[in-house]
Symmetry: C2
Subunit: 119 residues, 2 copies
Amino acid sequence: MVEQSRDLCDCRLIHRRTVEKAMASALAPNETESLAQIFKALADETRLKILWALEQREMCVCDLAAMLGLTESAVSHQLRLLRNLQLVSNRRDGVVLYYRLSDNHVSQLIKITLEHLRD
Amino acid sequence: MVEQSRDLCDCRLIHRRTVEKAMASALAPNETESLAQIFKALADETRLKILWALEQREMCVCDLAAMLGLTESAVSHQLRLLRNLQLVSNRRDGVVLYYRLSDNHVSQLIKITLEHLRD
DNA sequence: TTAATATATGAGCAGATATTCAGATAAAGA
DNA sequence: TCTTTATCTGAATATCTGCTCATATATTAA
């Protein structure tokens, strides 16, 4: 006869202290959420291509669309997302908006991950 | 009379060289895909919590489930994903599998991103 | 003001994904 | 061998997300 659900294993008793410590040093809920948002922004091939291109030169929406073979609308949607997370900034020159990376954290993240992939 | 679609702006002609250079220095398709996979792995609050906990101590599936308030099944699914990307490894002690981070790239990524969020 | 250009935005759909549920494996001990 | 424990896995589902389409906004030039 089964007395407990299969989802309650003995480790929960044996490792009680481990779990308590892990919970005590866990990320704050808002930190976890913000981290996930940033990584979500990097978790898409289109946005990665955009960011990698901007890491090397500023480009307008139209340039990015041409480079990626996508509509300018699609690119603009992605740029808004990146803008909201302050990963990219822009400057206006007449009707044209030139986008660039806001800081060098993004390129650091991409480079470290490329390093990880090469191991 | 409109001669070109709205999706073909003059920038494509004016900035032709910019676009060509961007395409020449673009990430290889397989690099882009692999990068996106890694960032996708980090782009989920559950997996972030798992990785942050493992950065500080090894833990078994059961511990992680208790810590996160999730079923062991859900945790196991996520660990498989992280294992497939070689972000975590495990050692067996009897019936218990203890998980840990495979290398320190993940904690670097999380720390850089936390830094970005603090600016 | 009017027209043209570059970009932004909202709605909607197709495809991706995190969790749950039910059941399957693998190691240890009786 | 049989049972128990810890973990794994496939299928199903509800939610999320990237793109397209149509339209709106903002800047410039006529």
